[in-house]
Symmetry: C2
């Protein structure tokens, strides 16, 4: 039998997730994003809601190492800015090849993904859907419904975050309110291609 355990073995723990609200119990780490934090992300910001919360990320924090799993719930409010639905900033993983899993718990939306060469994929988000985001795909969630979009995301601890590429270039596509519902259209301000 092997008993040479490393000194830093973690102790198992549990957190409760409320599938409707996305609240965690206990919930020590909450990141809140208002529209002001996303200034410049929407094409037309004349009706931007300012300091109101657009989304919150509730983290289950563990050391950000390659053997751990980071996870969080995101609660993305409904609404639009200049006809674009509320969305998260979106990012690549700093370690590009790391995958991520999204499990939608309530609400509805779209998961927009893009490679650095401008290739895009858009997938539906609704309760019970597991979205697999393979390595190399930037990912942004968009609330296309009337209620908060709540999802649970899991990713490898050393994935890291590259927000700068999306902040600089934009996403190749945006999601706008159309006459018959959400439309995924080219982003006129995308500079990545």
């Amino acid at each position: 039998m092997t008993t040479d355990l490393p000194a830093d073995v973690m102790v198992p723990f549990a957190v409760h997730v409320d599938f409707q609200s996305g609240a965690l119990t206990p919930d020590p780490v909450i990141l809140r994003r208002s529209h002001a934090d996303l200034a410049g992300y929407f094409v037309n910001e004349s009706d931007a809601p300012g300091e109101d919360e657009m989304y919150a990320v509730h983290e289950i924090r563990v050391p950000a190492t390659n053997n751990n799993l980071l996870s969080s719930t995101t609660v993305l409010q409904p609404g639009t800015v200049g006809g674009e639905y509320f969305m998260t900033k979106g990012h690549f993983h700093a370690t590009r090849d790391r995958a991520e899993i999204y499990l939608t718990l309530s609400g509805q939306g779209l998961l927009v993904m893009a490679l650095e060469d401008g290739t895009t994929q858009t997938k539906e988000m609704r309760p019970g859907i597991v979205n697999y985001v393979p390595g190399h795909w930037a990912h942004r969630s968009v609330n296309t419904g009337d209620v908060p979009l709540v999802f649970y995301a899991v990713y490898i601890g050393d994935a890291g975050y590259d927000y700068a590429t999306i902040a600089d270039q934009g996403f190749p596509v945006i999601v706008v309110e159309g006459e018959d519902g959400p439309e995924v259209v080219p982003n006129p301000r995308y500079t990545g291609r």
Copy 2:
């Protein structure tokens, strides 16, 4: 901009999870375990149910690499064998330090965990509970309720499976039906310490 994407970038995909039944859509890979597959795992097997299904694992299969996330639902039926609740075989990860996350979707049970030095931890499983299983902890789920226990598990692709250690040594503790509910008691046949 970086456009030197590797040739094997995966395409995003989605799978629907039924939180009540654990069924996946699509559901190409299902591993079924009857009591016959767990012969020798229970202390007293005189009333073992034989070939009836004890649990099923529905896998979302991706390449088992360190940048991917493997995930699955497990549907563990209710029942007992010699007073021990139905349970999964339980295993260590072959790559010992890899963590795993369990999200219980329906039913109730216990997640029993053990280090190779015989240290144990037992945590409640019920809908909405995220159980964090850090690296080095063997993990087994036990259905202590009257309905199927359904949970979604996510782990790092290169974690691997070591079933042999538990098959040989047993778990340090077992979960038995007591007068006032489930009791976690020492396993008289545990040989690991």
